[in-house]
Amino acid sequence: MNGAASSQIIIALAGNPNAGKTTLFNSLTGLRQKVANYPGVTVERKQGPWSVGERPAQIIDLPGLYSLDATSLDEQIASEVIQGKYAAEQKPDVVICVVDATNLERNLYLVTQIRELGIPVVIALTMIDVFERQKHEIDVDSLSRQLRTPIVAVNAKDGRGIDELERIVESLFDEKPSILDLPMPEEVSVGDNSRIFARYKFISNAVQESVRHNDQDSHRFSEKIDRVLTHRFFGLVILVGILLLVFQTIFSWSSVPMDLLEKGFGAAADFARDQLGPGMLTDLVADGIIAGVGGVVVFLPQILLLFFFISILEDTGYMARAAFLLDKLMSRIGLHGKAFLPLFSSFACAIPGIMATRTIENRRDRFATIMIAPFMSCSARLPVYTLMIAALFAGQSFFGFISVGAVLMLAMYALGIVVAIVAAFILKRTILSGPPPPFLMELPPYRVPNVRTVIQNMITRAWLFLKRAGTVILAISIVLWALMYFPRAEVSPAGTTAVVVDAQANTVEPLPESEQLKNSFAGRLGHLIEPVISPLGFDWKTGVALIASFAAREVLVSTLSIIYNVGKDENEESESLISAVRDAKREDGKPTWTPLTGLTLMVFFVLAMQCMSTLAVVRRETNSWRWPLFMMAYMTALAYVAALITYQGGRLLGFE
């Protein structure tokens, strides 16, 4: 990975979760950091440039870990990198170990482990301002002597200690420290774990010599907050309230920038059409690339807002409390409390959700969470729900004041959640069954979130999202466009397509867009699957849109708008697409869309696996094709059966 091994200095940033590692990393590298994944897994690898003295260096921000004896995938990679055992990574020259001053003993445990291996370590002591505000006293020099390890008190906010950190890292290049050799305790009745005793004994002695604790308990602040936030009753009420607030805000705040983005892409497509003139290239750019990529990029505001809230909830320490509150409920269906965050994220997008499962130590729990995450109604389903509701249920209400649309929307979210619960329950009792895994989770003290960390996190996520839109989605868009664009004529003789189009234009009327679609590869596919989907009440045109939407759900809306020949950059709110859906007729003259077929389509979209990118992430995350294929099969089968029941059941009840 790092080709110029001899010239490149590698510094690894290690430390316990919540020790302030990311904040320090951001302040050392700023915006120049690169985020990628470790090969084969979705554990994030963050790297950024730093200079030590005159020498350029690279800092790697490792995933948080409590011990070199890893229990999760995150920890395993961090541990292997530190020890130079990770194949794709150069052994770090120096490890900066971030230690939280307010939680010294447990944080120092990792330090002693690394020091025992003879790896050069400098301790970056964080949160010292908090520690001193709590009226504790710490003698850093004494602690450093006792631990036989250099310590620098750093403050990422005002830059205190950063220069000294650099100086000490530089000094460690030349004089390698001696291996820390801890005396084993005499009372050997503890078997394998005698090393743990020795380490904690060494740490306790060092801390006792150098730290004077204030008698008054310093953690009371967090405990007071917790009295409310993890209260038996209010804790749960507040949790539900926070979730509602987050969703409400995501959907309401993002509507303005999303409309702007949509208009922007529409304008870009028009501009391309004007500049390039009619032709295949124009169609490719305007209908394929701009419409396809644009349809996905409009979700950027929602993604940004979701990560804004997730960062804040995580940074304040609330996310761990949510897991604490919900673990019992989650364990009833066989999941871990930590599955809450991934599932919650999946309401925005299953991809970050699935990536967030890597904090779940147990493989079976993790896989079960991955397999149900796509049932959470993600933001890509929203345009589909919105279109169907606006076209078929607008203005209707129950009892005159409860909007049918709102109830349906809520019902779709609820359906996904209920199915996810049932699916997890079954998975954990069949192919993923096993003994309940240990649940051990730190509840970090409440802290004011670091603005820079939150913003940095949002930028990173936005960039990863845009990169995906520019690669995977771009490729899929072009393929879909080609499937709908070709072949251009009934019988296409050898020769360039452009000539065929021209010849056609000279002799006969150019094919209207809908006729072209019927004749295209996609249209033929639609006809091919019509027997399969007609029991669901769908015609071949819907079939085309369904096939296209297997790449990404929101593609359904843009495909429908092409199919109904109402222009090419209609968004789901546009009057014309909505009226086109209302007016669409089958070949026998009956309307294509009734409230029943609309509902059937929505049910199908709640449950079906229609997202290439999710499947790709599942493939990478589980490191096999078996799981994504299984996911695709079981979700789609479930969606089909549920849609069938909805449609046929509805007809039995007298609906059309």
């Binding site: 939680n103 310093s218 993890t230 240990p438 649940f439 051990l440 730190e442």
Partner: protein, 73 residues
């Protein structure tokens, strides 16, 4: 008695950690070793997991794990 049986708000000292070796190892690495002081802070709304304070930080664990920790007041 086990840590599960320790009443909320009470302090105790760990006397032994038994059971499944993986979880014992991790518990001890997190600082729950014989001789360490622990305080039972609270129980989650549905009765499980529990929150304990050890070495100045809060650790949540299920009763299943707490059962493997012997304490004495």
């Amino acid at each position: 008695m086990t840590l599960t049986e320790l009443p909320v708000g009470q302090n105790a000292r760990v006397t032994s950690v038994n059971g499944n070796s993986v979880i014992v190892h991790r518990l001890m690495e997190m600082g729950v070793i014989p001789g360490a002081a622990v305080e039972m802070v609270k129980t989650a709304p549905f009765g499980d997991p529990i929150e304990v304070r050890v070495r100045g930080y809060s650790l949540a664990m299920r009763k299943n794990e707490a059962d493997s920790i012997e304490v004495s007041a």
